[in-house]
Amino acid sequence: MSIIVNLDVILAMRKMKSVELAKLVGITEQNLSILKTGKAKAIRISTLDAICKHLECQPGDILEYKNHE
């Protein structure tokens, strides 16, 4: 897929653990892991909103488009 999830990078920059973010956002650690590994098929606006709120970032900081052609 051409969309890359940079959640790991932002988490490291904010020095926040996945468990903590999962709790703050209100999703399971397993689901956060699916999102981080790029296995997710879709992301809810509400989830993205909560992630951006707690990581104090923009959606573009988390999601990046890379053309693999």
Partner: protein
């Protein structure tokens, strides 16, 4: 009681029923061919003497041939029943959509179509065996295709369409599971 609980409860009963049928149906076929010479034409007769199913005693060799032929539709039927039982074992655990469900529906459809075809062959062989003792000129081969076969074929076709619908359901479920 919510829908899923109802599905689980009823599926448990169907699973039991199908397990019972999987034992009883093959047993019926065995007993039918073992006691073929003693079976009446109609199971219950009132005020009239019962006539035997076949006019003469079937030799053991023909009984064996009859039983072996009966294994054709029986195998298709057993295969179908095993698939449906597997389906209900998933339902009783609360698993509604999975890739396995799609293949179960497809296999059930194939089993039904095969059962119709093999039943026609079986009934034709039966007609030959039952009239084998008749004098020359009175022996018959019957090839039947009745409304029962048409109904089964239609059910088989409908089950195949359901299998495709189930596949779409599975894709939607997978998408839902991977939506964060």
């Amino acid at each position: 009681m919510d829908n899923l609980s109802k599905i689980k409860k009823i599926s448990k009963n169907f699973h039991l029923l199908l397990s019972f049928l999987l034992v009883v149906i093959p047993l019926y076929y065995i007993l039918y061919w073992v006691f073929i010479n003693y079976l009446p034409d109609t199971p219950i007769t009132v005020n009239t003497p019962s006539t035997p199913l076949i006019p003469y005693k079937l030799p053991i060799k023909l009984q064996v041939i009859g039983f072996i032929t009966s294994l054709l539709p029986l195998s298709a039927l057993t295969y179908g029943l095993l698939n449906i039982r597997k389906l209900f074992s998933f339902y009783k655990e609360g698993v509604i959509f999975s890739f396995e469900h799609v293949s179960i529906f497809k296999n059930t459809s194939k089993a039904l179509l095969l059962w119709v075809l093999l039943s026609i062959i079986y009934e034709s062989v039966k007609s030959v065996l039952f009239s084998a003792g008749n004098p020359p000129g009175s022996r018959v081969v019957e090839v039947g295709f009745s409304s029962a076969e048409i109904t089964t074929l239609m059910v088989g076709g409908i089950v195949l369409v359901i299998a495709w619908v189930m596949d779409e359901g599975r894709i939607l479920t997978e998408e839902k599971e991977l939506t964060i």
